[in-house]
């Protein structure tokens, strides 16, 4: 407990935190905007697909979907920002 984790672990935790958190904020915004305009039940045209039962479930699934997309974007942004060769 008293020894701090190795620097690689700390760095990974820091980057993972930034990625998860920024994607979380973006997903919250996207979910709000998306479902303000789209009623999940209206999408089914009265015949909802069997995998969704209620609006809150669709909201939650939507949120995790946006979070996943946000994580992909954030990881890519981090990875590409590293550059292909070490800075001189």
């Amino acid at each position: 407990m008293s020894t701090p984790p190795p620097v690689e672990v700390q760095r990974f935790a820091r980057i993972a935190g930034v990625v998860l958190w920024s994607a979380f904020l973006a997903a919250a915004l996207a979910t709000m905007l998306c479902f303000a305009f789209i009623d999940p039940l209206a999408l089914g045209r009265g015949e909802p697909p069997s995998w969704w039962v209620s609006r809150p479930q669709v909201y939650a699934v939507g949120f995790f979907f946006f979070w996943f997309v946000g994580i992909v974007a954030a990881v890519l942004a981090w990875y590409l920002a590293l550059g292909s060769r070490p800075p001189r």
Partner: protein
């Protein structure tokens, strides 16, 4: 991987040292405590307050409507939510420009919950030095008992917070009954645990790291600062050179400033910085150092305010301007948006009417020289009462509205769809025209709306 890493590599990712904020009393600490009581009181009690038959504030996501006191908002009113968020952002800018990080120090949920979790920590584990000693010491029965008591309080507070939070989105009384009967649905359970854990983690463990690493506002707030913004500053001119001295001696005679270098300002700091090094990005302007330094100055017989709320201009003996272009612009925009918001909400139409033309035919000629257009109308009753609506059509000449029923009875909050036929003489006026459809309630003359539609007819 236990080999020590080279120092050059560590420097950017300095190991996080746990901050043990020392308890503080004083003017600003009292202000923050008051703020914690008011804000947490509102948060925990609001869902339990009823407005007539229903919960006073309920963001009913399953039913897609928001209840705020006497008002009901629909997805069609989304503009108001956006508007409100813009107002919130602008007020943050305004208050930051005038008063610095007032939000961070007194109102931010992170501060408010951290403060209450710190209180629970203090109750169970004791004051700063007792906590440090406890953490350094071995695992004894007493340590286990104190840590368990803290965890119990934290987890209970976290779960209660999660439950309350979900209570803003699902009627809280139903939720409470479901919890008691252990029939809470999977999603409600998930969100209660999710927000409970978020509270526990943020207020119990992450604390100042949220402000330092996670908060976007903390990063850009300095852009709103200028030399007239209220900041917490150590008066270097007055304090330096710092050093200890016996009580009651004249520091100037010893060549010292007013700072006795007791480091209490560092010990009370929730973000673990030394304010004497100047304004830093980590400073959340909680004024704990102001309070503690004032008590020290009182004891030493020196005037208060060695660390104080002031502006950069004041520190450099220049005049501070409260009214300046930045403040005027933010203030004017904010006032305009707020007035506009109130007016728009007050004038919000209590009923909405959508008219969709029948896609299958442009128009239909009847045998007696008349022409019909068919529309589907959708009525949304945004009032809290059922209404009986009637539809009229107004054009250049007389128009007749025909539908299966004469009155449309729409329950509160319901959407009513019906096909209507609008009829007029085929050639007066010649060709197409734009008509106005007027929908009004028989029960309440104030509930009325109009919309335009295109009426097609042959041009001979």
């Amino acid at each position: 991987m236990s080999a020590p890493a080279p120092v050059t590599e560590v420097s950017l990712y300095l190991a996080h040292a746990k901050v043990y904020p020392r308890e503080v009393t004083g003017r600003f600490a009292r202000l923050r405590t008051a703020s914690v009581w008011v804000l947490l009181g509102i948060f925990y009690l609001l869902p339990w307050i009823n407005w007539g038959e229903r919960q006073a504030v309920l963001f009913d996501l399953p039913a897609r409507k928001f209840f705020i006191l006497g008002l009901v908002f629909w997805p069609q009113d989304f503009i108001f939510l956006t508007w409100l968020l813009i107002i919130a952002a602008l007020s943050l800018f305004f208050f930051t420009a005038v008063g610095g990080r007032l939000w961070c120090g007194y109102a931010c949920p992170q501060t408010v919950w951290t403060e209450s979790f710190l209180w629970m920590e203090r109750v169970t584990e004791g004051n700063r030095s007792a906590r440090q000693k406890l953490d350094r010491g071995p695992w004894t029965a007493q340590k286990l008992a104190r840590k368990s008591a803290k965890q119990f309080l934290w987890i209970s507070a976290g779960l209660w917070t999660g439950f309350t939070f979900v209570g803003f989105f699902t009627p809280i009384r139903t939720l409470a009954a479901e919890v008691q009967l252990l029939t809470l649905g999977p999603w409600e359970t998930f969100w209660v645990l999710f927000y409970g854990f978020a509270t526990y983690g943020n207020a119990g463990y992450l604390r100042e790291q949220v402000c330092k690493y996670m908060c976007p506002y903390a990063r850009f707030q300095s852009a709103m600062f200028d030399k007239d913004t209220l900041v917490i500053t150590y008066d270097t001119e007055r304090g330096e050179p710092r050093g200890s001295r016996p009580r009651g001696t004249d520091p100037r005679a010893r060549g010292l400033g007013d700072c006795i270098d007791c480091t209490l300002c560092v010990q009370v700091c929730p973000t673990g910085i030394d304010i004497r090094q100047g304004l830093q990005i980590e400073c959340i302007a909680c004024a704990a150092c102001v309070d503690v330094c004032d008590t020290v100055m009182d004891k030493m017989g020196s005037p208060r305010g060695l660390i104080r709320y002031t502006t950069e201009h004041a520190v450099h003996h220049k005049a501070t301007h409260v009214i300046r272009p930045r403040v005027l612009i933010y203030g004017a925009l904010l006032a305009a948006l707020m007035v506009g918001f109130v007016v728009a909400v007050a004038m919000r139409s209590p009923v909405s009417l959508d008219v969709i033309r029948d896609r299958n035919s442009l128009y239909q000629l009847t045998g007696n020289g008349k022409v019909d257009n068919v529309y589907t109308i959708r009525i949304l009753n945004k009032t809290e009462h059922p209404q009986r609506f009637v539809l009229e059509a107004q054009g250049a000449t007389e128009l007749e509205v025909l539908s299966a029923v004469h009155e449309y009875a729409v329950p509160s909050g319901a959407v009513y769809s019906v096909a209507v036929r609008v009829r007029r003489a085929a050639y007066e006026p010649l060709g197409a025209e734009t008509i106005t459809l007027v929908l009004h309630s028989l029960d309440d003359p104030r509930v009325l709306t109009t919309t335009k539609a295109r009426f097609l007819a042959p041009a001979r």
